[in-house]
């Protein structure tokens, strides 16, 4: 952060004389206004929002906060209230992260994987879907988003053993790269 230099100009002394007497102050307390706006996720500097496509239905912006919800509290228009048991479900392009700041950032989700016994759900960037669904996969990498860039995220759920619900809280972090 740059420090701001302030040049102080002193007006000519008027009146009775120029000498400062004692009693100069040694402290000042100045209140200044700081204006910070809290925006809904889809308007924020780091925007988090459901995608415009058909699978945006699986994400919500309740109270201005993005949530991924594949349950009866967010049924699809067609009436679906959850993933199938003993099945793998892949849903691409559910939500997007967009950098509306002025510096490139690296975006990570932590955790991106929730399990219950052998059943699990994973949230991952679409550009790294091979890491989830291909063979010889590696861990997820952070996503670098330049200013104005956007990444769409997918959801994969595998239920083999009878978990009735999966999920938790994801921390979406964005850190400036320089």
């Amino acid at each position: 952060m740059k420090r701001r230099q302030l040049l102080l100009g002193v007006a000519s002394v008027a009146g009775t004389g120029g000498l400062l007497g004692t009693g100069a102050f040694t402290a000042v307390s100045a209140d200044r206004t700081v204006s910070v706006q809290v925006a809904a996720d889809d308007q924020a500097l780091l925007a988090l929002e459901p995608t415009d496509g058909p699978n945006g239905e699986y994400a919500t912006l309740e109270g201005g906060q993005l949530a991924i919800d594949l349950s009866s509290s967010n049924p699809t228009d067609a009436g679906g209230t959850g993933v199938n048991a003993r099945a793998e479900t892949t849903i691409e392009d559910v939500f997007a992260v967009e950098n509306r700041g002025t510096q490139p950032v690296e975006v990570t989700l932590d955790p991106y994987f929730f399990d219950d016994g052998g059943d699990f759900v994973c949230v991952y960037p679409g550009s790294q879907s091979d890491a989830v669904v291909g063979s010889g996969s590696t861990g997820l990498e952070p996503v670098t988003l330049g200013v104005g860039d956007r990444e769409q995220y997918d959801v994969f759920a595998a239920v083999a053993l009878g978990a009735s619900s999966l999920g938790g809280t994801v921390t979406v972090s964005a850190d400036a790269t320089n």
Binding site: L20, R32, L70, A78, F114, V121
Partner: protein
Amino acid sequence: MKRRTLIAGLGSLTVSSSLAVGSGAFTSVSAERNVSVAVADDAYAFLRLNERGSGERSEIDGGTLKFNIPGDDEDQYPSGNPTDPDGLGTDSVYRFGEDAAHDQSGLFAVRNQGTQPVEVYSTQDSTAGVPTVTMFDVDSGDLLTENSPSSPLGVGAGPLVCGLEIDTHGVPIQDEAYDIELTINAVATDGD
């Protein structure tokens, strides 16, 4: 920030200032968001599967669709004069388009409760020495396979009414039933 000295008596210099947070860039953000995924019974899930017809060739067990060919209650059909077979013949191909009571078309129905039209087909991991099971569209008679799936099933559209074709060529006769895992696939056609 350098402290500004204020010369008493000379009036104050009012300089507006603002908190220096840089020029609108953020350096880190951390936001906690919820992910919740529920597992629904077949009748309520995104890929909705229902059994059809009276008789237990197709039934719902523990919330999921299950098949037994012949059905557990096959010895009750036709009612009044039942036939009670032990199973399918070997080296044969059977098609079951209805349950044993023949009171409804199809052995099961597939509906799309997701968000995009999907193509539906069945696959079976291993067919060596066991019956080969393939789903078919009861109205068209077409087998629904990976290479030749159903035409796209729209969201909320009417059910895809299905049966099972079972091929027992090369499958030995035995007292125990063969337990086969049939995978029902629904893949969205590339929309966007």
